[in-house]
């Protein structure tokens, strides 16, 4: 569909359809927000602001709450309740419950059968739909772009703006097409695609931009795989990443609780089919990668841009001509206690974490479980598997995946953000090494002094079994 005959990108179509007031020299554009996701950590100060000013939540029927960041993932007690040991977390969760209740916002609270990571439950409930604008006080809101929505993280002040007005001030970002051509090889996953992209463009490469992921390799991904890719757009500096909706999208959505049904479904489908970027539409920037040249990726440093093919060697700061980059690399290798030129394959690890809004969905758990079935987690390794939502957990249990993980010696936990952000007691000890399917390897991210290697669920499972960083392709061949 074109506007005045001018071909438009997917992003432009969604942006244009949500513009309440155009951007001008005097002010940014005002965008209408279709869906606002809220959680306990970035909302309390926004609700306080509403109370101070005597404001209501304008559209509680377009707002949904879940508890995820500071919730424990320890087992339920004999009453079926998940106990909260941390008094501050308990207070924050109580505050959130009260805020949702007072302002009429539906909430999936801790213990609810639909509770889970905010970026897992949105799509799971069919709330996330093509062509929508979606925001949340969480940078990984980019996840929802997998459905062809414009979805991005906002700060707490902006959470307040959206609660009060259902609109948001935004300067229009530039666009960047990321074409991933060809087909992925065996043992190479969506996570490896996005880690390769970020290693290529750097963690600031997408600042001020919205990515659109395109090409055969993206089209071939499941919705869960597309979510993994879009999820880490922010690690490349882009607030949002999008994939054009297609039959894979529609098949995933059909029949979900909040998805349109009956005649509404047909009408929605007809609209969604108009969303993909028009032929001839221009992007501000383009990048092309070959999927068939990718192998499993792993990070070696302290940001997600410090990644390499798993058989690579840690780069040498001395070879880095840019002083600032050299300093950052020096600091990263000192923190990670790694040496220039060192191979990571065979490096001993202490913890494996499978979870987070990047890689905690049913397909991620199936991949890891298939790999680990009949094998044992190395004695020296603690392996945690944290499903992204209670529904993912139930589904996995119905397929017997929990038994596979337990039999291998892994911990099977309750749903939440867990060791991705290490706010809830699930954390690394100082000096420990983890292979993690999460999204950030920043210093201390998974616990003060902890050291993180980001990788796919397959690489994580292979490393758990080997007790060292391992290439899942090699072990599978054996």
């Amino acid at each position: 569909m074109t506007d005045n005959g001018r071909p438009r990108t997917l992003f432009e179509k969604v942006w244009d359809a949500h513009t309440v007031r155009e951007q001008s020299d005097a002010a940014p554009a005002v965008l209408y927000i279709d869906l606002h996701l809220v959680h306990e950590v970035t909302s309390p100060q926004a609700f306080s602001m509403l109370r101070e000013r005597g404001l209501m939540v304008r559209r509680p029927d377009q707002t949904i709450g879940t508890m995820d960041h500071s919730t424990p993932t320890t087992p339920r007690n004999e009453l079926g309740i998940i106990p909260i040991a941390d008094a501050m977390a308990a207070k924050q969760l109580d505050t959130f419950s009260r805020n949702c209740s007072d302002f009429g916002i539906p909430l999936y609270a801790l213990g609810d059968a639909h509770q889970g990571i905010v970026h897992v439950i949105g799509p799971e409930k069919g709330l996330t739909q093509p062509g929508m604008t979606i925001v949340c006080g969480d940078s990984h809101t980019s996840t929802h772009g997998a459905f062809g929505a414009l979805a991005f993280g906002i700060g707490t002040s902006e959470v307040g703006h959206v609660l009060a007005t259902q609109t948001l001030l935004q300067n229009k970002p530039r666009t960047m097409a990321i074409n991933v051509e060809g087909r992925l090889g065996e043992g190479v996953t969506a996570k490896d695609i996005i880690l390769a992209i970020i290693a290529r463009i750097g963690i600031g490469g997408g600042t001020g931009k919205v990515f659109e992921y395109r090409g055969e390799a993206i089209r071939s991904l499941s919705m869960e795989g597309r979510m993994t890719v879009c999820n880490m757009s922010i690690e490349g500096g882009a607030r949002a990443g999008m994939v054009a909706p297609d039959d894979t999208t529609f098949a995933y959505m059909h029949g979900r609780p909040h998805a349109p049904s009956g005649a509404d479904w047909d009408a929605a489908l007809a609209h969604w089919r108009t969303l993909p970027t028009d032929a001839g539409a221009a992007f501000d920037q383009e990048l092309t990668l070959r999927a068939d040249e990718l192998i499993p990726m792993i990070t070696y440093g302290t940001n997600p841009g410090m990644g390499m093919p798993i058989d690579g060697a840690v780069p040498a700061p001395a070879a880095e001509p840019d002083f600032n980059k050299k300093t950052a690399l020096d600091k990263a290798l000192a923190y990670m206690d790694l040496s220039p030129g060192q191979q990571l394959l065979g490096k001993a690890i202490d913890v494996v974490f499978i979870g987070s809004c990047t890689n905690s969905r049913i397909t991620d758990l199936r991949q890891a479980a298939r790999f680990i079935a009949g094998r044992k987690v190395a004695d020296s390794v603690r392996m945690m598997v944290v499903p992204g939502s209670q529904q993912v957990k139930l589904q996995a249990e119905s397929e017997g995946l929990d038994e596979i993980f337990r039999a291998a010696g892994a911990e099977w936990r309750e749903a939440g953000c867990s060791m991705c952000i290490a706010m809830n007691g699930d954390q690394l000890q100082p000096g420990q090494y983890a292979v993690s399917t999460s999204n950030r390897n920043f210093e201390g991210r998974q616990g003060k002094g902890g050291r993180t290697f980001l990788a796919s669920p397959l690489t994580a499972a292979a490393s758990a079994v080997a007790g060292v960083i391992a290439d899942p392709r090699v072990m599978q061949a054996n």
Binding site: A17, V20, R21, A26, A27, P28, V30, Y32, D34, L35, V41, T42, P44, Q45, S48, R53, L55, P60, D61, Q62, M88, A89, K91, Q92, T95, P106, G137, D138, S139, G153, I154, G155, T156, S157, E158, H161, A164, T165, T167, L169, N171, P173, I203, G204, T207, G237, R239, H258, N303, T327, I421, A422, M423, P430, R440, E443, G444, R445, K448, G449
Partner: protein, 203 residues
């Protein structure tokens, strides 16, 4: 939000690229329900030794010569990572009024501006000059004029920096952006009248 018209302050440099929000304030401090008292958590894991209490004498913010610095000069791409607005709250709580870098992550920049913490984008040469000045002459003071969008260095050199007109207005007048959006209620209603609700979370 208080009005921010000018800043006269001494600089301190952290010449590290890609300082992420987990360094500015680690996630374990996000279990609060208000904004107060986060200053002590700023750069916590760099500022304190392993016990979390003893100041790390090697970290620049703990060196007496830089006590009271209110302008932070940082490496490229400052504030990348999470959307936590606790990052500018912590920096403000630690006494900073402005951060100078060559580039800021989008969400951090937005959050900073909404709280009266000024992100100042300069070119690489200016950034390096400021690192050198801070290093060689602790207590070096710079002057920032928000209205003129100008940073003045000790040698009198004036460096212009970008600032969108809307954010500038809000900083100069000490108003937040919500008032502007609330005043557009009619336009929001008109939008809703011509665009059917796309999803319902209730029911």
């Amino acid at each position: 939000m208080e009005k921010l018209r000018r800043i006269e302050g001494s600089i301190v440099g952290i010449p590290v690229n890609d300082i992420d929000t987990d360094q500015i304030i680690p996630a374990r401090f996000l279990k609060v329900t208000d904004k107060a008292g986060l200053g002590k958590a700023a750069f916590c894991d760099w500022r304190y030794l392993e016990d979390g209490e003893t100041p790390n004498p090697d970290f620049i913010l703990n060196q007496p010569a830089y006590a009271g610095a209110s302008v932070l000069v940082a490496g490229n791409n400052f504030g990348c990572g999470s959307s936590r607005e606790h990052a500018p709250w912590a920096l403000l709580g630690a006494g900073f009024k402005a951060v100078i870098s060559t580039e800021f992550a989008d969400i951090f920049r937005n959050n900073a501006l909404k709280n009266g913490l000024l992100p100042i984008v300069v070119d690489r040469d200016t950034q390096q000059q400021l690192f050198s000045l801070a290093d060689e002459d602790p207590g070096t003071t710079v002057h920032v004029d928000v209205e003129a969008q100008a940073l003045t260095l000790p040698d009198g050199r004036r460096v212009d920096f970008p600032l969108d007109g809307f954010s500038k207005y809000c900083l100069l007048h000490g108003v937040d952006q919500l008032g502007y959006l609330l005043a557009l209620e009619d336009e929001a209603q008109a939008y809703e009248a011509s665009n059917p609700q796309r999803v319902t979370t209730t029911g």
